[in-house]
Symmetry: none
Subunit: 466 residues, 2 copies
Amino acid sequence: MKELLISLEHNGGIPLYEQIYQYIKTEIADGKIIAGEKLPSSRALSRQLSVSRSTVDLAYEQLESEGYLESRPCIGHFACDIEGFVQVEPNKGKTSQAPKRRREGYSIDFAVNGIDPGGFPQNIWRKISRQVLSDEDAGMFQLGDSQGEWKLREAIASYLHHARGVEAVAEQIVVGAGNDYLLMLLSMLLGKSSKIAMENPSYDNAWRCFRSLGHEVVSIPLDEAGMKPSELEESGARIAYVMPSHQFPMGMVMPLKRRLQLLAWAKRQSGRYLIEDDYDSEFRYIGKPIPALQGYDQHETVIYIGTFSKAIAPSIRISYMVLPATLLQQYRELGSNFSVTISKVDQKIIEIFLREGYFERHLNRMRALYKGKHDLILKNLKDMTSICQVFGENAGVHLLLKLKNGMTEEEACRLAKEAGIKVYPLLAYFPDCRQAGDGEGILLGYATLKEDEIQRGMNILKEVWS
Amino acid sequence: MKELLISLEHNGGIPLYEQIYQYIKTEIADGKIIAGEKLPSSRALSRQLSVSRSTVDLAYEQLESEGYLESRPCIGHFACDIEGFVQVEPNKGKTSQAPKRRREGYSIDFAVNGIDPGGFPQNIWRKISRQVLSDEDAGMFQLGDSQGEWKLREAIASYLHHARGVEAVAEQIVVGAGNDYLLMLLSMLLGKSSKIAMENPSYDNAWRCFRSLGHEVVSIPLDEAGMKPSELEESGARIAYVMPSHQFPMGMVMPLKRRLQLLAWAKRQSGRYLIEDDYDSEFRYIGKPIPALQGYDQHETVIYIGTFSKAIAPSIRISYMVLPATLLQQYRELGSNFSVTISKVDQKIIEIFLREGYFERHLNRMRALYKGKHDLILKNLKDMTSICQVFGENAGVHLLLKLKNGMTEEEACRLAKEAGIKVYPLLAYFPDCRQAGDGEGILLGYATLKEDEIQRGMNILKEVWS
DNA sequence: GGGTATTTGTCCGTATGTATG
DNA sequence: TCATACATACGGACAAATACC
């Protein structure tokens, strides 16, 4: 049994089952599938082609009725001997393949961004999308609320309360097209003159955004608990941007004590704010989820930012933030002049996705999926204890390896690259320069890779790094 | 292993496997089935429940994919540890009231914003949406180009060339979620110290945006051709925001001579830019469409902004701008740090909508629709020549009435309001104060009204204003 | 203790119902 | 009404693990 490389056109006028039928028929007629050979099961093929099993069934049935296939119940479909068949197929060129995307010579990319390909809940999304677009609600196409639709904000508030311990009401929530946009909006509310403290290292795109927006960014060193409060205090910053749940890229979880210290810092002087970026908190593989920093805040100093980029897909551009009461007035004066940046259709889709429990199911599924990949890497790393030590495990979709055998980051990346593997040096995530004594680090993201790719990648890394 | 007491409803609308799934999931979540516990075999359970084994299999498979169960081949299914799973329950957190929408007692609202209810091409949109969401392009859900997808930008460039005489290549185009967002992005590129000149009166939301962003806005008086070049020169502004095709709210079309004068102003000093807001250029009811100002620009001084808010729907949040070459470098340095603000799905939908000719057909349909409303108002206004004079006709989706019978705007609005009709005073669109000698003006928008509502509204206005 | 019957998850083809255009 | 596609439900065949003789 071989794999069938059928490229289907979903709306090319030709029915799906017909395309499958034609393909297999040609394969048999051309002798590429020989008599007696087993074909993929209807389930396997339907999964591979992302169509319903019934569609494959229809094709198989037609092939069977024409004598190309024989069906043995409970066993499979098998190609028949077609000697003596009349071939009435004069025309036709070959089906052309779409050109493959070049990957800069990398065969496996441990990218720290992105999601599992195929992880997007496409069928449910399509179903809800159709439902929303079939609705006769005329208001669906007029301009909506600048903060986002009320019911969506309620659904987000409810989710945040239960899943993240965030205390928020719909009034405080602002939805927007991606974290970058929300940072842009926030920058306006907080004023351009605000000095912003960031963890060192931190999420590179956030500091690029802040700098583009004209803010002064100061890097605060980390210890094993996260941003050092003493250095934050000394920095003179008014805003601190932190990722307490799973710091990027170091992967540490901020302990309660440190969280309280940061909250104390914010409270100490009026006008200070903590921006909590909870970018991938959905994915924890052991223990209970840690409630968000925002949940401990008693003095309206935390701005909580969350996103569906990691949990659903980066390309749908849906993020949200919870403004403390002290910033709401500021938002109403300045921010509400800017129309909402998410289509009302998408807002409605995600609202239903949240309210009807699809999100919960999806999260559980993705968590199981990513945990599998996570565990696979960890298992492989057990053979590499002399080469590196792992940090930031049991959460998120990336790991940090600290090199122990004297290799530099550049060396490690270069060796990997020569073997076709892309890994990421820690250096890239220090806004200014790295702090002393941090050691050499490599980031491995696993969201976009399949398990067999991970296994192959790890085998190669083991070899080239030894 | 305990016995499961599931009572299945065979025709309750909920599929059997779903009922089994829900039951077991709840048992695990409630701790009635503890981690590690063995579940009945699919055969045993199917016998007990009198359903097929595959039905139980389906439920088990789903539970496994979501991490509730673990399957050990040839041994059985076992419950997993679900500590840390998200449980979405009814909201027990803070509650808040949805803000009540006030009806304000108007029965007919000549709103200057919005589109025809029912004007959205819902069926085609749904069809394309379904097509896009059926596509198995895995890249569809990873983060895309910061400027927008290349093919969409090509499609927009092509449309702009043919329909608006805009000279642009895909490289220059930046798509974004609404004009407000694009202005925010532009503000960053142009620098916050830029003094911005606007027409007086002008589009109120644009000046609110600029002010929120910290720009100094100066109002330049208009004559019958539009913004006065001499006053613009004297203002010391570096940026001028204009609507040459159909000025809002005055409705004038800027003649070529004035356009060239503005371009000359921009050229005179380096760093000057014209922002051309072409918000409703799609709707012209007589004569040829006037090419955009951008098309006459020889010196890379015009930033062209267009939107699908008027032509398709405000709620879909799709706008675009054409950057002059001189700003592209600036965009790459600052702007490209911000991810695109439109879902890739929506980008694909609108790309197909443009490429396959749906947009052209839609525009023609809408133009005919709005022309009918437009003509109906004009016909009614012929009986009111003693009360008011009409401006800004034959384009867009609103008209300006200048009152001739001594009524003030407030009076006219009040009289209309008492009769349940909402009309809009010109005053609201002057950023600072109105210029002398402009007269009293009333805006009538007709996009959202049906023809019979317009007729009734006009009848009433005729009566109360006499 | 080694062969055998049974249990189990898994995979298979099949049939029918349902939604959409 | 009909074609297309997907959802739901059914029961048999198989191999691996296990229990039993």
